[in-house]
């Protein structure tokens, strides 16, 4: 289990140090600083083992969070906890920065006491935490004894993530499908690996204790309905929708509010939602991915002192949609001494500090193409090493889900209060972003 948790600033100074177990000594704090933060070579592995002690770290802007243990723990659990902790902190005081951490010093210790006990992760649901850990310390005095005991019974009860007696004038519900698409493509355009990792993030403002049911175009569900539902439908793929009907989900995880037994038996996702922001599920797909962009590189070495690069990008989605924040990053050799760039669209610039040409396009509609060409001058060196040609990477944002996921329905039932599914205002949004989207050149 987690033996201790440290937070450092960029210089390696300790901001927060919380030790849960005796086997973690003071020297562990320094060991991480010396071996990871101040290491000569940048440490890329998130897990570092120093003197039989394991350090798991994540970095948020300039802040290092490190969990320490001497035991053989489940590393995935530790990272899950660290990410959760980042979420909790963000929910409480916004951006994780040195200043914010210093300002919320007491709060963080209070949170750490609550979400970890003797190194074992506890309830880290922001909504629940906010009921009894508040930033206004004085306010807690106004709680009556009754209220306090109510909080206790609720937090430790069956539905720990939602308190009773929530009332809204307008019952509203926001649903975001956020996906990041990862790709590695060969210079000839062959897909070497591609996958989408997606999240369904919700924000709910619902009164009472509603019961929700979420439906999407999961292949298994659709197939089952095709078989058992409509009687004479032989072409079960024609289910009223257009284009791709169903997607194969490789694996998924759910928020604790989802009834897993129901999912296992009927594959239906039903839950009593927490109040406010939460992440309903995460999933991953690898089949039939819509690749929003195609990158076609052309690199030509002219002698020892010159390099010609031409890159074409093609957008591959409906012309009515607009991709945003497009950025193509073309690495340049380490002995580059000068660069001339010509591009038809957007802005391109040689960034010496990153050894790359960065080409930015604000917006681009579907089924379009654009190109950039660059002449790179090289300085002859005594090194005979050939340039390794790192891949060209790309960033973008598109308003659809590259995995093909579609929300079919989201039903809300509240039996005790007098509002029905139709009274709830629902918003759905799809955002596809690039993860590691690379093409070799």
């Amino acid at each position: 289990m987690i033996g201790g948790l440290f937070i450092y600033n960029h210089k390696g100074e300790v901001l927060i140090s919380r030790v849960y177990r005796d086997d973690i000594g003071r020297n562990a704090v320094d060991a991480f600083r010396v071996n990871v933060i101040h290491a000569r070579q940048q440490v890329r592995s998130p897990v570092t083992n120093i003197a039989r002690t394991s350090f798991f770290h994540v970095k948020r802007s300039n802040i290092w969070l490190a969990a320490v243990t001497k035991q053989n723990v489940n590393a995935a659990m530790v990272f899950e906890f660290l990410y959760k902790m980042c979420d909790v902190m963000t929910a409480y005081f916004g951006k994780i920065s040195e200043e914010n951490i210093k300002n919320n010093f007491v709060l963080i210790y209070e949170l750490l006491d609550e979400i970890l006990d003797f190194g074992y992760p506890q309830n880290s649901e922001t909504g629940a935490l906010k009921t009894f850990i508040t930033q206004q310390g004085i306010k807690s005095q106004h709680h009556t004894k009754e209220e306090q005991s109510q909080i206790t019974s609720q937090v430790t009860g069956q539905i720990g993530w939602r308190r009773e007696g929530i009332k809204y004038r307008r019952n509203e519900l926001f649903l975001d499908v956020l996906e990041s698409v990862n790709l590695l493509m060969s210079p000839q355009g062959q897909v070497l690996s591609a996958h989408v990792s997606g999240r369904v993030v919700m924000k709910s403002y619902l009164s009472g204790m509603p019961e929700c049911k979420f439906g999407m175009n999961d292949k298994i569900v659709i197939d089952k309905q095709g078989k058992g539902g409509t009687t004479d439908d032989s072409g079960k793929s024609e289910l009223g929708g257009s284009g791709k009907q169903s997607i194969a989900i490789d694996d998924c995880t759910f928020h604790q509010c989802v009834r897993l037994s129901k999912f296992d038996s009927e594959r239906s996702i039903s839950f009593i939602p927490p109040d406010g922001d939460y992440e309903l599920m995460r999933y991953r797909t690898t089949k039939d991915i819509i690749l929003p962009f195609r990158v076609i590189p052309l690199v030509r070495e002219v002698g020892r002192t010159k390099l010609e690069v031409k890159v074409v990008i093609k957008s591959n989605f409906k012309p009515s949609l607009l991709a945003q924040k497009i950025e193509v990053r073309i690495p340049t050799p380490l002995n580059t001494s000068g660069v001339q760039v010509i591009c038809m669209k957007g802005k391109a610039k040689y960034k010496a500090s990153e050894n790359a040409i960065v080409w930015k396009i604000k917006r681009m509609a579907g089924m379009k193409e654009s190109q950039i060409s660059a002449e790179i001058e090289l300085l002859p060196t005594n090194d005979k090493k050939k340039w390794a040609r790192p891949p060209i990477s790309m960033n973008f944002e598109v308003p659809f889900a590259p995995s093909g996921l579609k929300v079919r329905y989201l039903k809300v039932f509240e039996s005790k209060l007098n509002y029905s599914d139709h009274d709830v205002i629902k918003w759905v949004r799809y955002i596809g972003r690039s993860g590691i989207y690379e093409t070799r050149c």
Binding site: K11, Q42, A352, S353, E354, N382
Partner: protein, 956 residues
């Protein structure tokens, strides 16, 4: 930001550095550096010419980036360009970059060398110095090749500036250290030596470093420097402190130069010229006198400088070791330092005194400080100083104060630091042995030693006690009694149990008269320790038990009971189990007479050099224990044990095995010489702790329940079979009469390949030991009555090791040398005896001769004993070509068209041995019908003819 003067300050560099310093994270730093590198690359692109200032600035930045730990792969050319600049700062930066960044195999080295050459030949002293510094800093072989000839010329040229001379001397020193073969002084020698007379003290100081280094290599060529050094020294020593204005350091005139001069003099014996010697003695006296003067300053630098000279002077006095007066004075001076409050001084004083103690002139003087040194040992806070004190005590010990010193060291041992305990134990053991007047004291001391610091008592120490006890009748009883008493302590160290087991097993009868130490009491005492001991100790105890059966028949049943118990006879350790089984059998089968013979008391050990001393020698360099002292130690050790046959015939058995300890407890008994060849199979039988006399072991053969032989333990009844198996192995060697290379031996564990070359009377055999298993062989040793290089004691699974054996044929011989191979495979010891295929015919030199010459010789060798003839049946097909090949392989020249009958073969050759040359002629007459051969050999020596005939008869 540092103050920047206009023009030279390189503002860009300062800005860049402060940017880097202000970076918040590593990534930011890398970004900034990448940006800067790209900027520099674009500047160096070459489309526009850069002025010297910007070139310097960018090269500086590159240097800074390199020093931050990033690779720099450009800019070398610009740095080289800077070398040809006329501005000092630009040149300096260029040289700096090159000495830091250019590796020796760069293509630019020629350009650089050219630039250096130009600077060396310029008249500008600062440029010359820069170039010299660069040569010295790079110091590569290429640099040495290019400039080794040039620099001595600069060094001795009359018109060179002093500062350049200084640099040249040090540069030359550096080149000499990296590639001594390229720096040839030759004609320059005398002129370099005369630099000692230079006006400029700096030049002298630099030159003396060079001379010291050179004279260590060729002392004779630089002999003249002694008188010059002495006169230089006396001038410095006798000068008033104001004379050498710039070179007076805290009132001490030229301390560095003085120290270096004294060190140079230590390379040479005392000067023969009386006048020079007188002057030197005078100098040394002055230095010693000055040490007595009150300090001129309270500053620590003053006393440091003074003491540095003093200690160098004392080392010189010790080095000369011929001036009793000076030695005693030095000793007294050091005695004062012993109580100085400066720890470093005390350390140095102890260290110097240690060497003084070994000089016969000052030994007595050193001894007067014994109380102080003992005090230092007890109270000193620094462990390194305590160690020096222990060294000094060891060095000053002699017969008169041995008891006191040993007692002090023993009492110190109880509190000593762990790091020096083992060494202390060895020292105590040696001193106790060396200066023992009575043996009971010796035994007491060593047993005390084991009691106090048992963990640090190495094998050698307790081997030595046992050796001495066995060799001295008068101490045996006392030893038995003391050991018995010592064993009664509730917890005693395993080494004590070993000594106890051995001594009681041998001499327990001497104290058995006392009812308190009756045989049964002794046995029970030993057996009570049995279960706490490691396997080797248990094995030794088992041997002690069987000896008890011999010494005290009344204990027989008790001991048999113990041996019979499951924990012994079914012990999981093979060695213990085997011993238990064998001893049980031995005690029940053998009659008392046999038992008494087998288990007789061990004979006295042949005298050797004390193994402890050897161990100490190994542990420390000669620094702490001077060589003549060791010599003395050996002499006294010999005296103590009164052994006349020192060395003995142990060398004949020459055990190159790493485990063969010098004490000879393991394998060194002179038995093999007398034992028959099969006996060598058994030599190792009890080698583990071996205190049953090997000579008697032949009697034991029939009792062995399982014998370890070539491959596997063979049951008892198979012993004769295994002996014959080894015999066939011996005959394998016959295959190699006519060939030199091949596989000598192979079984499922080991393959031995052989490759041999012979030239005249010399031969060289390469043996390849291949491990066919996947497990490593440990303690792999080979023994041979021919000298051989020791073989690797370990053979990894699947690996092969090689052994080279050099052979010289002294005279003719008939028996091939035997090779005995032992190794451990898994737990079991494997033993193998092979005959090396070295036969007399290997030393043949072929002789070509015409027909009539041959028959003339043939007739000359007509005496009956010179001829050997054999008629034998062919064992292989009679193929002419094969026969020819075999005869050629034999080493003789096959003579064609000599014999009138073309079917017959005749050969001629000369056997080369160191003593003589033996001409031999051979005639082989095959008879195809009868499948028979007639072989006739004639040679000038009868034994040779006979042997050759025997060898060849088995080949066809």
């Amino acid at each position: 930001m540092p103050a920047v003067s206009k023009g030279d300050g390189m503002r860009g560099l300062a800005v860049f550095i402060s940017d880097i310093r202000n970076c918040k994270s590593k990534e930011a730093e890398i970004k900034r550096i990448n940006k800067e590198l790209a900027n520099i690359r674009s500047k160096f692109k070459g489309d526009k010419a850069l002025d010297g200032y910007s070139k310097k600035k960018y090269v500086c930045k590159l240097l800074f980036i390199f020093l931050l730990g990033h690779d720099i792969d450009f800019g070398h050319m610009e740095a080289v360009n800077l070398l040809s600049s006329n501005k000092y700062t630009e040149k300096q930066i260029g040289y700096l970059f090159i000495s830091v960044l250019v590796n020796s195999n760069s293509e630019l080295i020629r350009l650089i060398n050219n630039a250096i050459k130009n600077d060396l030949s310029s008249r500008n002293p600062t440029f010359m110095c820069l170039a010299l510094h660069c040569i010295a800093n790079v110091g590569s072989r290429e640099m040495a090749e290019a400039f080794a000839g040039e620099i001595p010329r600069i060094l001795v040229a009359g018109d060179t500036m002093d500062s350049v001379k200084q640099s040249a001397a040090l540069c030359l020193l550096r080149l000499y250290k990296t590639s001594p073969d390229l720096v040839l002084m030759g004609e320059w020698t005398s002129r370099v030596v005369h630099l000692l007379n230079d006006q400029h003290m700096g030049v002298v100081t630099a030159a003396i470093s060079l001379i010291t280094c050179l004279s260590q290599k060729n002392p004779d060529e630089f002999k003249t420097c002694v008188s010059l050094a002495v006169s230089r020294l006396s001038r410095i020593v006798s000068s008033a402190s104001t004379d050498l204005q710039d070179y007076t350091y805290y009132f001490v005139p030229a301390p560095w130069l003085s120290c270096k001069l004294l060190r140079l003099l230590q390379c040479y014996p005392p000067p023969e010229d009386g006048a020079v010697k007188g002057r030197l003695v005078e100098c040394l006296e002055t230095i010693l006198n000055k040490a007595q003067e009150p300090p001129k300053s309270k500053k620590v630098q003053h006393s440091n400088a003074k003491n540095a000279i003093l200690f160098e002077a004392i080392s010189l006095i010790i080095h000369y070791d011929s001036e009793p007066n000076l030695l005693v004075r030095a000793c007294n001076q050091l005695g004062q330092f012993l109580q100085h409050r400066e720890t470093n001084l005390r350390y140095l004083a102890l260290e110097s005194m240690c060497t003084l103690a070994s000089s016969e002139f000052s030994h007595e003087a050193v001894k007067t400080h014994i109380e102080t040194v003992i005090n230092a040992l007890k109270t000193e806070r620094d462990v390194s100083v305590r160690q020096r004190a222990a060294d000094l005590l060891y060095a000053m010990c002699d017969r008169s104060n041995a008891k006191q010193i040993v007692a002090e060291m023993l009492s110190y041992l109880e509190t000593a630091d762990y790091s020096i305990r083992e060494e202390m134990v060895l020292k105590v053991a040696i001193l106790a042995e060396k200066y023992a007047v009575d043996y009971s004291w010796y035994v007491d001391t060593i047993l005390n030693l084991i009691r106090i610091a048992g963990d640090y008592v190495s094998e050698e120490v307790w081997y030595r006690v046992i050796q001495i006890v066995i060799n001295r009748d008068d101490v045996q009883g006392y030893a038995a009694k003391t050991v018995f008493e010592a064993l009664q302590a509730p917890a005693c160290h395993e080494n004590m149990v070993k000594v106890g087991g051995y001594i009681l097993g041998e001499f327990g009868n001497l104290i058995a008269g006392d009812p308190r130490s009756s045989p049964l009491v002794q046995f029970n005492l030993l057996h009570s320790k049995f279960h706490l001991c490691s396997v080797p100790t248990r094995a030794l105890l088992l041997s002690a038990y069987i000896k008890f059966i011999n010494l005290f028949p009344e204990t027989k049943s008790t001991i048999q009971e113990v041996l019979r118990s499951d924990s012994q006879i079914r012990n999981s350790d093979v060695e213990l189990q085997q011993r238990a089984v064998e001893y049980l059998k031995l005690s029940s089968i053998a009659s008392t007479d046999v038992l008494a013979t087998v288990l007789e008391e061990m004979p006295p050990f042949p005298e050797r050099e004390s193994s402890i001393l050897a161990k100490l020698k190994k542990k420390k360099g000669p620094g702490a224990v001077s060589v003549n002292e060791l010599e003395e130690g050996k002499r006294e050790a010999g005296e103590l044990n009164g052994g006349g046959e020192r060395g003995g015939d142990s060398s004949a058995i020459s055990t190159p095995s790493p485990s063969a300890d010098l004490l000879g407890l393991r394998a060194g008994h002179p038995v093999t010489a007398a034992a028959p060849s099969a006996g060598s199979l058994l030599v190792d039988v009890f080698s583990e702790t071996g205190f049953i006399h090997y000579g008697r072991l032949m009697l034991l053969i029939f009792l062995r329940t399982h014998e370890r032989t070539i491959t596997k333990p063979v049951p008892f009844l198979a012993v004769p079979a295994c002996l014959s198996a080894s015999h066939t192995l011996l005959s394998l060697a016959l295959r190699f009469v006519c060939k030199n290379n091949g596989v000598l031996f192979e079984n499922q564990l080991l393959q031995i390949g052989i490759k041999s070359e012979y030239r005249q009377n010399l031969g060289r055999i390469y043996l390849f030991y291949g491990n066919k298993t996947s497990v490593q062989f440990v303690t792999f040793t080979t023994t041979l009555n021919v000298q051989s290089k020791p073989v690797e004691p370990l053979i990894e699974g699947g690996a092969q090791v090689q052994q080279v054996i050099n052979i010289e044929c002294l005279t003719d011989f008939s028996d091939a040398p035997l090779l005995n191979i032992k190794f451990r495979y898994g737990g079991a010891l494997q033993n193998l005896t092979l005959k090396l295929p070295v036969t007399i015919n290997k030393f043949f030199q072929p002789t070509e001769m015409a027909s009539h010459d041959f028959f003339q010789r043939w007739k000359q060798l007509s005496q009956p004993q010179q001829e050997a003839q054999k008629i034998f049946k062919a064992s292989h097909a009679m193929d002419t070509e094969v026969l020819k090949a075999k005869l050629l392989g034999l080493g003789m020249a096959l003579l064609e068209n000599v014999d009138p009958n073309p079917e017959n073969f005749v050969c001629a050759g000369v056997i080369q041995s160191k003593a003589q040359q033996v001409g031999s002629l051979l005639r082989l007459e095959p008879n195809a019908q009868a499948q028979m051969y007639r072989l006739t050999v004639r040679s000038s020596k009868d034994t040779v003819s006979k042997r050759l005939c025997e060898l060849l008869a088995e080949q066809f």
